[in-house]
């Protein structure tokens, strides 16, 4: 596997091979925690952290791991990283930890993390692997935050409500009340809203890509990497 | 601390044993992959895939040495079938190996044939009939339309022609296609 350029890594992670919109990995946390922009952002950042850690570590030890036992080894690395991140969040952002609850430990089972480890980090230098982890995680965060924002906006008529749980009291100022006296549209907050919202986001991305292709701008079509056998996460 | 290490070791041992036992006990003796791939290939023996016949190609695919999109006679449907056997996503036919086309049959121009027997030797399924210095002919039921006999002919008397439809082989067209064909001009007119 040849070393991809930085540009390629970034564009793949953020857009062309986006975890949420193209690879459809990690749907469980994606759908469950995207009820508001801040929740989504929180989980996204946690995932970024985990991906950074795991990709770097796995890349660093890639020469020493026998291919027969690589999956268990990756899992151990990922589980450790996730545990560390969870403890970190618990210590620093207890409010956020309360909101995200079980979904932080569940990052372990996020196919996207193992997928990047297997498909990318195990074959590349640590620096490149770290960049890939960052890009992938940011792409995931982007989707989570957008979907969360969309659902929050339609469901409650606000944006970045409860930002204080992440950014402290200063974060309160971030909260936008887009519509005053909005009755709320509960469906958007309920699980069906997550599915419908994600579907619309994917459709929107495809539309943008199609437009781009039509304009003749050569959008490099990057084949989806075979990350995990199943598109749906385990939990 | 020690008890945690002990517990984990114990767990690892137990599950390792369980896995080992399962892999021995529940081993699935499937058909060899090459056989299943060979069964899907169209058996024209045309060699367009770069292998001398369907069987060698199937074996190469089974060994992972050849891609599965190199069989033009099988067409896209054939590629999909191969992909299903291999458990991978289908992809389009490699244009380097040729293009998909309707079933063909070799026809000998009997006035030109000089009976050189070169085509006889080239035919992978012995579908050409003839002997030295006698005009040859193609047994149409046996011809796979591989086209291997065309090149060796010194007088260019062999041509590939589409298999003629008969009452027995004629197929009803899909109404979906005819309906679309009807709709298109209608929409264009509107």
């Amino acid at each position: 596997m040849s070393t991809p350029s930085v540009r390629e890594i970034l564009s793949n992670g953020l857009w062309h091979n986006n975890t949420g919109l193209v690879a459809l990995l990690g749907l469980c946390p994606l759908l469950a925690t995207s009820s508001s922009a801040i929740n989504g952002f929180g989980l996204g950042m946690a995932t970024v952290l985990v991906l950074l850690l795991t990709n770097t570590t796995i890349s660093a030890i890639r020469q020493y791991v026998q291919s027969e036992v690589r999956i268990p080894v990756y899992i151990v690395v990922i589980a450790s990283a996730v545990t560390a991140v969870e403890l970190l969040i618990h210590a620093l952002l207890p409010e956020l930890h309360k909101v995200l609850g079980i979904f932080i430990p569940l990052i372990v089972t996020n196919c996207c993390v193992l997928g990047r480890a297997e498909a990318f980090a195990s074959k590349q230098r640590p620096a490149i692997a770290a960049l890939d982890g960052l890009a992938t995680g940011l792409g995931f965060t982007l989707v989570l935050t957008t979907l969360g924002g969309l659902r929050e906006l339609i469901g409650h008529g606000t944006l970045f409500a409860n930002a204080n749980i992440m950014f402290g009291e200063a974060g309160r100022a971030l909260t936008l009340h887009v519509l005053e006296d909005y009755r709320g549209f509960l469906l958007a907050i309920l699980p069906p809203g997550a599915f419908i919202g994600l579907g619309l986001l994917i459709a929107g991305k495809n539309l943008l890509d199609a437009r781009a292709r039509q304009r003749g701008a050569a959008v490099p079509v990057v084949q989806a990497t075979h990350c995990a056998p199943s598109a749906l996460p385990t939990p | 601390m020690l008890s945690a290490v002990f517990a984990l070791t114990l767990l690892a041992l137990t599950f390792g044993l369980l896995l080992g036992f399962a892999s021995v006990q529940f081993r699935v003796e499937g058909d060899p992959l090459a056989d299943r791939l060979d069964a899907v290939l169209p058996q024209t023996q045309c060699g367009q895939c770069g292998f001398p016949g369907c069987r060698p190609y199937a074996e190469a695919m089974a060994r992972g040495e050849a891609d599965f999109n190199r069989c033009p006679p099988g067409g896209q449907a054939g590629i999909e079938a191969l992909a299903a056997v291999l458990g991978v996503e289908p992809k389009p036919l490699d244009p380097e190996n040729g293009v998909e086309q309707a079933a063909m049959i070799a026809i000998v121009d009997e006035n030109v044939c000089i009976g050189c027997t070169l085509c006889l030797q080239a035919c992978p399924v012995d579908a050409i009939l003839g002997s030295a210095k006698h005009m040859h002919t193609v047994i149409s039921q046996e011809c796979t339309g591989c086209g291997l006999c065309v090149a060796p002919c010194p007088v260019d008397c062999i041509t590939l022609q589409p298999v003629p439809a008969t009452l027995a082989t004629w197929k009803w067209p899909s109404p979906l296609i005819s309906a679309n064909a009807q709709q298109e001009p209608a929409r264009a007119a509107a």
């Binding site: - | 030109v112 002997s131 002919t137 046996e142 010194p154 439809a165």
Partner: protein
């Protein structure tokens, strides 16, 4: 106890439709005979099964009732001349089939006399109800009768189920709207219908018969009842049963269900349940065939619909163009919008009326625009289930539709696609106007095609494997032959020293060859057994036999050359011996291999014709390889001493070799030689040549077949050989021209004089070629040769433009 006693009630089948009947338009007028048309087109495939094989030739005069084509195989039906006249063509003609693919047809031009031939009618039989069943079946088969209800299955095949049948059902339901031909037939010829039923009953050895007739035909039912009473005792155990009018009760499966309660499905044929169903028109045709000896040459056809001026029923000769029927019925009305063969539910819409009536056509429906559904644009399926309610086969049409549409054919089969009888009920009630039946037909033909393809792939695989095995074997054989040749050459070296070889030695050699051949045969058999375990035992046997024959022949051939030479040399005169010695010396100086052939040429007078022929062939081969100056000379010398026949054959063989050798020869020789020969001479030479070639050709393919075509049936081989011989003959004729030139140039005046008288017997002359054709052929040949020459790097001959 009679089964009839158990029939105490009628059953019903699921679904079915009440479709507007439209019977009144055509059922009031009596059947009229259509005037004799000028030309009849009789497709060889008018029935289910194998197409008939034409047994007349173009230009032949036939009488009414003469056989035009014979049944080819068990499930097939003969075809008879509907009137007297001349066969003007046997060629593919369009028939009523959705594909529009033309079918080989006999075109018969009527002479207007409509006379029966002296031999075309078998003796009429009066007391037909006491006849031997086997004889009855034979008569039905001879008459070419097929099911006239529309399916056109050969009736004789159905009647062969003697002993397996408990109940014979006569289908008088005629459930399709518009059609009334059976109705009229029953009213007017009830006696024949019942007679035919009783005949078939006798042929089958059945006691119980049920006639199922829909209750919308009371007159026909009454007529049948009256006829039954006429037959009195003979018609015992025949039950006339009226059934409710409901489409498709005239379908075999549904009628049997209604009458007996037995369900006949795909998994169970009617015969398995001891029931046989025949149509009323078929019964009448059987009656006519047996009592009058009249083959199936006409049928009753309903011409109806609001698109026709005067709807009625017509007695029509098979092969009559549809347009003649339309014209007789007053032509189209302005409303005519669709031409349908058969009924509106299952019929086939045709683009035009220039097609012939075939045995299975019961109705020509010219529908007005408001009688038939317009090809309306369909809506998506809303899964309303109307189709399911209407389906007489209790299928789920809408699921079949989904799968067929998505090309999921295996799933379509799982929902029992092949149980569909294509009755059209589902599509007739579909609120979305989906062309459901076409989807099913599409799926069915696709599945059949996939199965054919699979079979073909398997066959190809087997043949490829055999091919590889054969190559391997041939490699081994070649090595063996090389070894044999080497030792033979050594032996010949000895023989040359002692020209008068021991005849005993020859005999030993022959015996050896035979033994070898036998061994080879045995080996071939064994290996064939090993190699092709996918072939059926019969195929294997044939293959082995053929292979053994071929092997033996080949061995024998290599052996005979030497053998014959030995024999021949012994009987030579001194002068000849001298010449031979000279020639041989020359030849040996050049190449040892060519020796036998040359010797033969010289020794010819003493050889038997077969030997001569074989030698000539061997010779030709040798000559083609070698520069031919010496033998040619020898030939020229020897020629006067040869008998005319021998001369001819030799000339032919020689010429062939010569023609091939010099690239320029054919064209040039033609140009040069043609003026020197009279046309008759040319023709005769050509003919002689062709005969020789044909003979050889006939033997050669057989050999080749044995090796190459293990899966060919005898008929296929025969056909191929015939085709082959024809082309070969053609080519030979053309080659002969060149041969003649060469021969003529080489021979002196005497020989030239002899040549014209050389072929006293030329009966097997293939279609004589005109000089123009010959010239063209020669030119083509020259081109081909030139190409070859050019490819092999030789300078192109300057004559090639010619």
């Amino acid at each position: 106890m009679s089964v009839l006693n158990t029939i105490t009630r009628l059953w019903r089948f699921h679904g079915g439709l009440h479709v507007p009947e439209h019977k009144a338009e055509s059922n009031s007028a009596a059947i009229e005979a259509l005037p004799l048309p000028a030309q009849l087109v009789l497709p060889l495939q008018q029935h289910i099964g194998a197409a008939a094989r034409a047994c007349v030739r173009v230009g032949e005069r036939v009488h009414k009732g003469d056989a035009l084509a014979r049944a080819d195989g068990y499930i097939s039906a003969a075809l008879h001349a509907p009137t007297s006249g001349t066969v003007v063509a046997i060629e593919p003609r369009p028939v009523a089939h959705p594909s529009g693919i033309p079918v080989l047809s006999v075109v018969l031009e009527s002479d207007g006399r409509d006379e029966w031939g002296p031999n075309s009618l078998p003796t009429p039989i009066e007391d037909y109800l006491r006849l031997d069943p086997a004889y009855l079946r034979e008569r039905v088969r001879e008459a070419g009768i097929v099911g006239l209800g529309g399916a056109a299955f050969p009736t004789a095949v159905k009647l062969n189920a003697e002993g397996a049948i408990r109940v014979l059902v006569l289908n008088a339901a005629e459930c399709e709207p518009y059609i009334t031909c059976d109705d009229r037939l029953m009213r007017e010829r009830a006696h024949a219908v019942i007679g035919g039923l009783l005949l078939m009953r006798r042929a089958l050895g059945v006691k119980d018969c049920i006639i199922g007739i829909e209750d919308n035909k009371p007159e026909a039912a009454a007529a049948l009842q009256a006829a039954l009473e006429q037959f009195a005792d003979d018609a015992e155990d025949v039950l006339l049963q009226q059934i409710p009018t409901l489409y498709p009760s005239g379908s075999e499966q549904q009628l049997i269900r209604v009458l007996t309660g037995v369900e006949i499905g795909r998994s169970r044929r009617p015969v398995d349940s001891g029931i046989l169903c025949q149509n009323v028109a078929t019964a009448a045709a059987v009656h006519d065939a047996v009592t009058e000896g009249r083959p199936l040459i006409s049928r009753v056809v309903t011409v109806t619909g609001s698109g026709i001026s005067t709807p009625r029923n017509l007695e029509v000769l098979i092969g009559t163009p549809l347009s003649a029927l339309i014209e007789y019925c007053g032509g189209y009305t302005p409303r005519a919008a669709r031409l349908i063969i058969g009924g509106p539910m299952m019929g086939l819409a045709l683009p035009g009326d220039d097609l012939p009536i075939t045995k299975g056509m019961n109705c020509v429906l010219v529908a007005g625009a408001d009688d038939v559904s317009a090809p309306e644009e369909s809506m998506p399926c809303i899964r309303c289930g109307e189709c399911m309610n209407a389906c007489p086969a209790n299928l789920l049409p809408q699921q079949m539709y989904w799968h067929a549409r998505a090309r999921e054919f295996d799933k379509a089969q799982q929902v029992n696609l092949f149980d569909c009888i294509e009755c059209g009920c589902c599509a007739a009630v579909c609120p979305s106007h989906l062309p459901l039946v076409q989807y099913y037909r599409f799926a069915k033909t696709e599945i059949w095609a996939a199965e054919r393809e699979k079979k073909k792939a398997e066959q190809a695989r087997a043949r490829h494997e055999f091919h590889l095995y054969r190559l391997e074997r041939e490699e081994a054989e070649k090595a063996a032959r090389l070894q044999a040749k080497k030792s033979a050459a050594q032996q010949r070296g000895h023989e040359a020293e002692t020209p008068a070889a021991d005849p005993k030695q020859a005999a030993i050699a022959a015996a050896l060859a035979r033994a070898q051949a036998k061994k080879a045969a045995a080996k071939a058999e064994a290996t064939a057994g090993e190699s092709s375990n996918e072939l059926s035992p019969e195929q294997l046997e044939k293959l082995a036999a053929a292979r053994a024959r071929a092997e033996a022949k080949r061995l024998a051939a290599t052996q005979t050359a030497g053998e014959a030479a030995n024999d021949a040399t012994a009987a030579l005169s001194p002068e000849q011996l001298e010449k031979l010695a000279a020639a041989r010396a020359r030849a040996e100086a050049k190449k040892a291999a060519s020796a036998p052939a040359q010797a033969n040429a010289d020794a010819a007078p003493a050889l038997s014709p077969e030997q001569l022929e074989k030698l000539a062939a061997a010779r030709a081969r040798a000559e083609a390889k070698k520069a031919a100056s010496a033998p040619a000379q020898a030939n020229a010398d020897a020629a006067p001493a040869l008998s005319p026949e021998q001369l001819e054959k030799l000339a032919a063989a020689r010429a062939r070799a010569e023609a091939k050798k010099a690239a320029s020869a054919p064209a040039q020789a033609n140009a040069d030689a043609a003026p020197a020969l009279t046309p008759e001479q040319l023709e005769k030479l050509a003919a002689a040549r062709a005969r020789a070639e044909a003979k050889k050709a006939a033997s050669a393919p057989a050999q080749a077949n044995a090796d190459a075509a293990p899966a060919l049936s005898p008929e296929q081989i025969e056909k191929l050989t015939a085709a082959r011989v024809r082309t070969e003959a053609k080519k030979a004729a053309q080659e002969a021209l060149a041969a003649a030139t060469a021969a003529v140039a080489a021979l002196d005046a005497d020989a030239q004089e002899e040549a014209p008288t050389a072929s006293p017997a030329a009966e097997a002359t293939p279609a004589p070629l005109t000089e123009e054709q010959l010239a063209r052929l020669a030119a083509a040949r020259a081109r081909a040769e030139a190409k070859k020459a050019a490819q092999s790097g030789k300078p192109a001959s300057s004559d090639q433009e010619q």
